[in-house]
């Protein structure tokens, strides 16, 4: 196994996972620079979501290495990976519908994470200030007292992004953040992503090509668990293999 330290925020090397012999991710190598916004695209079943599952610990890899700031993640528990600084947004908005927007953000606030810490946790002015700051970013400042279940689909997606931002992760992973959004919401989300990728690395899975073009520093095309092409959007779009399996459809 490769064990050299690198300057990359995220270094995925020779990563493989097989489910009963089927290799969902096959010998994948992927690097993310500091402050890079990297988009993974690919047809259905290419293994995009599985890559995120592997990085955040939801699925255990069969072989290979995942290093985040030179720290090996493959043997860490999910909550430890989060505490190390990796945040992950799920494909369908995953928020607490019965809690208010403010409570959603408060629950995600990275203090009082132990049992007793959470019981003694106080909503100090510092906490409130941070929540307001995040709420401003995700355009939900006026909805703080709203029950999260009543938000629109797009607002729910933003809220989940906000719940990650409040933890200030070094690596933010977003699984189809604009799925089901209106055109206007997509524009706002692109703006939001460009803003929040300042000072952290972002890994995005996306289908919407216009959106990818607007945000991506680098694009990786995944096909049947393997990398088909990588580079900037122009290079990838011109690649005949990519056109054949994906863009040409």
């Amino acid at each position: 196994m490769v064990s050299n330290n690198t300057d990359f925020t995220l270094a995925v090397e020779d990563l493989t996972v097989s489910f009963d012999g089927f290799k969902a991710v096959d010998n994948l190598t992927l690097y993310l620079d500091r402050n890079e916004l990297h988009v993974v695209i690919g047809p259905n079943g290419a293994g995009k979501t599985t890559v995120l599952d592997l990085i955040c610990g939801k699925t255990k890899s069969t072989s290979g290495s995942i290093k985040f700031l030179n720290k090996e993640l493959t043997n860490m528990a999910e909550h430890e990976i989060v505490r190390a600084g990796v945040g992950r947004k799920f494909q369908t908005p995953s928020i607490y519908e019965n809690l208010s927007v403010l409570e959603n953000l408060e629950v995600s606030y990275p203090h009082g994470r132990g049992v007793f810490g959470s019981i003694m946790f106080k909503r100090t002015s510092e906490v409130i200030e941070k929540i307001h700051q995040i709420a401003d970013q995700i355009m939900l400042r006026d909805e703080l007292e709203t029950e999260a279940g009543l938000l629109s689909h797009g607002q729910k997606q933003w809220l989940e992004i906000g719940m990650l931002l409040i933890q200030d992760p070094q690596l933010l992973m977003l699984d189809e953040p604009v799925a089901g959004m209106s055109v206007r919401e997509r524009e706002q989300t692109a703006e939001l992503l460009n803003k929040i990728s300042q000072g952290r690395s972002v890994l995005v899975i996306e289908h919407d090509m216009d959106f990818v073009e607007r945000i991506a520093d680098k694009v990786t095309v995944l096909h049947q668990g393997k990398i088909l092409a990588a580079g900037n959007m122009k290079e990838v779009q011109a690649d005949p293999k990519v056109i054949e399996v994906y863009l040409g459809h």
Binding site: E78, H79, S94, Y96, E103, V107, V115, I119, F121, Q167
Partner: protein, 395 residues
């Protein structure tokens, strides 16, 4: 002050609810019922501890335990063992072949007090055991289940199985546990006659005081970030896990806390009823406890107490006249609660309570007098919760 008020009493609504409950069990019941009925209510209120524990565990935590009888029983047996040892002094048991050990041991040819009975000679150690052993047992079960991410219906079944195993164990080990008859013939606590009327009154008030304390402690937990996390875990467990929390620790804690509360109820049960037997450990009592919580409203700590009182009052009334019908009625009640009013009495009150207060205007004027407000101020206060809070703190 405001912190205490919000955290412990759950704001205005919760504070009024708690006051009404306290007035009912501490003043109204003792005034209107004789000691026989009051003792019976005291017995019901010990079940309320288990019902309150289920509000935390099931209502908020989303983890249904069909085995709260385990912890209720462990608490009850702990207290019973101490009382039994005191009742089995060498003088009292001089006719036995081995004097100084409980009678059922003597009947089973046991000639020496088993090692695990020895600590129960001391009242202090007994209290420590009641407060730690059930919680410790819950920790072992909880850690084994939740760390492996066993939950939902599997957890419910496993707790039920443990309740059955414990019952079989108690019944089977007659020489150590008193078997199917349980531990009976309990008379004194440190020389004080627990069967006297005055003792029954005192136990009743201790029971009420502890129940209110447990409700306040539970509310403190539920209004903290821990409470929000419980709801969040019930909704989207993965999101909580991927927000940096070790979900299993939270579930283990709430399970242990629920066990502790139930055990306190069990110990108080033994004190007030005067015996403990395996029929308060197994499946039937455990499921009854779930019904109490469901009828009262599984999201309401106070509702669970009313649910317990109501179902037990019904049980007593009906089983006096139609003993064979009661079980069917109880089953029907549970099904109708689940199907027609899933939030129980507390949910009904939230939905329809304002009709009651509107149609019985004396209630609302009473309320206004209670809080020293004229009706017009009360209207304003309804619009501005800060005003009402200030008024409350003046009280």
């Amino acid at each position: 002050m405001n912190f205490v008020y919000e955290k412990l009493f759950g704001g205005k609504q919760g504070f009024i609810g708690l006051l009404i409950l306290a007035a009912l069990i501490l003043i109204v019941f003792p005034l209107f019922f004789d000691i026989f009925r009051l003792n019976l209510i005291g017995k019901y209120l010990t079940y309320a501890f288990a019902a309150v524990s289920l509000v935390l565990l099931w209502g908020y935590g989303g983890t249904l335990s069909l085995g709260q009888g385990i912890f209720f029983g462990l608490g009850g047996y702990g207290m019973a063992m101490f009382l039994k040892l005191e009742a089995s002094s060498a003088e009292n048991t001089s006719i036995q072949s081995t004097p100084g050990i409980p009678d059922f041991m003597d009947w089973n040819q046991i000639t020496e007090l088993p090692w695990f009975w020895v600590p129960f000679n001391s009242f202090t150690l007994t209290l420590i055991a009641i407060l730690t052993i059930p919680a410790l047992f819950a920790y072992i079960i909880g850690a084994a289940m939740f760390k492996r991410r066993v939950g939902g219906v599997y957890f419910a079944i496993i707790t039920q199985v443990i309740a059955v195993i414990l019952t079989i164990l108690i019944v089977g080990q007659q020489g150590f546990t008193g078997g199917i008859n349980g531990i009976t013939d309990l008379r004194t606590l440190n020389g004080w006659d627990i069967t006297s009327d005055s003792a029954k009154y005192i136990f009743y008030f201790i029971n009420c005081g502890l129940l209110i304390a447990v409700i306040i402690a539970s509310r403190f937990i539920l209004t903290s970030k821990f409470g929000s996390l419980l709801l969040a875990m019930r909704d989207k467990e993965d999101r909580v896990r991927f927000s940096g929390y070790d979900v299993s620790n939270f579930k283990i804690f709430v399970f242990c806390f629920a066990a502790l509360i139930s055990a306190i109820g069990g110990a108080l049960f033994t004190l007030q009823v005067g015996f403990m037997s395996p029929s308060f450990v197994g499946i039937v009592p455990s499921i009854e406890m779930v019904i109490f919580a469901a009828v009262g409203g599984r999201m309401s700590l106070i509702g669970a107490v009313y649910g317990t009182l109501l179902v037990n009052a019904g049980k007593t009334a009906f089983s006096e006249s139609f003993p064979e019908l009661w079980l069917f009625l109880m089953g029907g009640l549970f099904i109708s609660v689940v199907m027609f009013f899933p939030n129980g009495l507390a949910g009904l009150w939230d939905d329809y309570g304002h009709y009651v207060t509107r149609h019985f205007s004396f209630l609302s004027t009473l309320k206004n007098k209670l809080f020293k407000k004229s009706p017009s101020i009360a209207l304003e206060a309804a619009n501005d919760s800060n005003v009402s809070e200030q008024q409350m703190t003046k009280l």
